[in-house]
């Protein structure tokens, strides 16, 4: 081991450089800290895109490297968002309640404040009491721990049951899909304790930072998201290099052979699945404060399928492939569905991209599968090889 890890993996350095350059450029062009060329809402879109890239990276670890096709990763993404959302909403509501009670003659007790917060948050679903699961919502530290713990435990239980029973392939994919659907349906209920279909809102307001404008906040979150993406990119690259990565790829290609070599394959799958779920949850926890709102529809199965499509188009089994795919497709997608793409009038019919974007995405997916099975990342590989050849 004469050379360091980064020196042996130049692609990681290239990626980190590109990410840093991107972040710096956006900062300079931003309203918050720069010349104001890019609107705050667009900065938020970019910040959210970085979080989606991180989720795609995490999916690539389980699917591209370990061969476990999870169609339910947004369950972890959403749970991460809900966990941080609870603190954001609670602390923000507490500020409002305290300031509105500031002028009453008797200073309110902490119980009165808590009741008022409950009424504020749960009035919309006809409740007034804070449910049990909100017990720690006033503590940022605990909620941050829960961002990791709740999705981690869910992934552990799910993976332990599924892998131990040797469920694999399509059957496992269907189970993951069922998991996210069940979670979504559960959260839609008002008595789930997370405000049913209203979800959690006002998450863009950071408690204790009233004086910081949204323009500045958006840049801070962009930095945070970029930092998270960069760190987990290095960690994942390290994870998948060396003997551990070799074992994980061996599971993808022939798990029985590895089993007969004495490896306890299930424990490896479980470790990768849980780590991937946790990274996805952290991505979600960074995403929703930028989105401002989270509701159970976010966890619907289609979201997880999009994530898979991004990784497939970007090229699975290579980390930058997942990131390129997620960035490229999700940005194009928001351009087409945001009404910015010009409609095409054909006289007898007008192609509205809001409706036709999904068809286009479907075609794109089929084309990539047929003609570039290694995805956009595979094209990058070819370019690099041609240059060095």
């Amino acid at each position: 081991m004469e050379r360091t890890f980064l020196a042996r993996n130049p692609s990681v350095l290239v990626f980190l450089g590109a990410l840093a350059l991107f972040t710096l450029t956006v900062t300079i062009l931003s309203e918050g800290l720069g010349i104001g060329f890019l609107s705050t809402s667009f900065i938020k879109t970019l910040g959210k895109t970085l979080c989606l890239c991180l989720a795609a990276l995490a999916l690539d670890l389980v699917w591209g490297y370990c061969g476990i096709l999870s169609l339910g990763h947004f369950a972890f993404f959403g749970l991460g968002g809900y966990m941080i959302g609870m603190w954001l909403m609670y602390a923000r509501t507490e500020e409002i309640v305290v300031s509105s009670l500031a002028n009453v003659p008797l200073p309110p007790t902490s119980e009165e404040i808590r009741d008022a917060i409950g009424t504020q948050i749960f009035g919309v679903v006809g409740g007034a009491e804070l449910p049990m699961i909100w017990s720690f919502a006033d503590s940022l530290t605990i909620q941050l721990v829960l961002v990791v713990l709740v999705p981690g435990i869910l992934a552990f239980l799910f993976g332990w049951l599924a892998f131990r029973s040797r469920v694999s392939g399509v059957y496992l994919s269907i189970l993951t899909q069922a998991m996210t659907l069940a979670l979504s349906l559960y959260l839609f209920q008002n008595d789930s304790g997370l405000r049913g279909n209203n979800g959690l809102s006002g998450l863009q307001n950071l408690p204790g930072a009233e004086n910081v404008s949204q323009a500045t906040l958006s840049i801070l979150f962009l930095w945070g998201s970029a930092l998270a993406l960069g760190s987990f990119y290095i960690a994942s690259a390290w994870f998948m290099s060396g003997k551990f990565g070799s074992a994980i790829r061996a599971i993808r290609d022939d798990e029985n052979r590895l089993r007969y070599l004495g490896y306890w394959v299930e424990s490896y799958k479980l470790l990768v699945f849980v780590v991937s779920a946790i990274i996805t949850a952290i991505a979600g926890a960074l995403y929703y404060p930028q989105a401002g709102i989270i509701n159970p529809a976010e966890i619907a199965p289609i979201a997880s399928i999009y994530l898979v499509v991004w990784v497939a188009i970007g090229g699975r089994g290579r980390l930058y492939g997942a990131v390129i795919g997620a960035a490229f497709v999700s940005l194009i997608s928001s351009w087409f569905t945001g009404g910015q793409a010009p409609d095409i009038p054909l006289g007898f019919y007008t192609i509205k991209w809001v409706d036709w974007w999904l068809v286009l995405l479907g075609f794109g997916f089929v084309l990539v599968t047929l003609y570039a099975p290694k995805g956009l990342g595979g094209l990058v590989d070819q370019l690099v090889r041609r240059k060095s050849a």
Binding site: F239, R249, L258
Partner: protein, 249 residues
């Protein structure tokens, strides 16, 4: 054979699939440094026997005793059995085709296999020397950095044998190692197996009589799930029952 010399013993093992008795009251034993060939017509239960020993299939009745303490393998998982020192070579060459020969051999090295240990694993000088020795043993020294998928059929078979040896096994189960090999490759494979049998027990399942003759070892003939005959190759092929089974009655 006394208990002390026996490494593996199958005692009246039976297993049936949908009423078909694949293995029928099979009893079989092998010593700790012995080369043994198993022959038998299709459907004789050769592969099923390997499946039972390696934990892929559970027997309906009987015992599979292994090692110094005669533990019953039936209660162990495939990976635990492998860790106990039983290596298995499949009929088709089964190596990790997307990885280099070096990576394949390194994965198989006899080291701690728990995920966290492997994650923080540092390849030691000893590991590297061991891989070099193994590569030399199976004739792949010049191919260490090639992807396993690029190797010829014979080389893949050798790589798999090398991976089995890397586990430092006490018992090797080898399923038709010579299938699809050229005469020179066969010779090389014979030498390899004979050398391996000096340090551990090797069980070779083979159809090819010529190959079995060259192995020059004790032969067990399986038929309809139980042992038909056992002895030297010359003894076995003169057995009336064996002739009947092989030539049809």
């Amino acid at each position: 054979m006394t208990r002390a010399e026996t490494l593996l013993e199958l005692d009246k093992v039976s297993v049936s699939f949908d009423g078909f008795k694949a293995i029928n009251e099979l009893s079989f034993a092998i010593g700790s440094a012995e080369l043994r060939a198993i022959i038998g017509p299709n459907g004789a239960g050769k592969t099923t026997m390997m499946d039972i020993i390696t934990g892929k299939t559970r027997a309906d009745s009987g015992q599979v005793k292994y090692g110094d303490h005669a533990i019953d393998l039936q209660n162990l998982s495939e990976s635990a059995i492998a860790q106990a020192g039983i290596g298995r070579k499949f009929q088709r060459p089964t190596v990790f085709e997307n990885q280099t020969v070096l990576e394949n051999l390194t994965l198989a090295l006899h080291n701690d296999r728990s995920p966290l240990k492997v994650l923080f694993n540092k390849t030691t000088e000893m590991d590297r020397r061991r891989v070099d020795t193994l590569a030399d043993e199976v004739g792949l020294t010049d191919h260490l950095h090639r992807t396993a998928g690029e190797l010829s059929h014979g080389q893949k078979q050798w790589l798999e044998i090398g991976m089995l040896l890397a586990q430092e096994p006490r018992l090797l189960l080898v399923d038709e190692p010579a299938a699809g090999m050229t005469p020179q490759e066969r010779e090389h494979t014979t030498d390899m197996l004979k050398r391996a049998a000096k340090t551990c027990a090797v069980v070779v399942v083979e159809h090819d009589m010529e190959f079995v003759r060259r192995l020059d070892c004790r032969v067990t003939v399986l038929h309809e799930g139980s042992v038909l005959a056992e002895g030297s190759i010359d003894h076995v092929i003169q057995d009336r029952q064996v002739i009947e089974v092989y030539l049809g009655r």
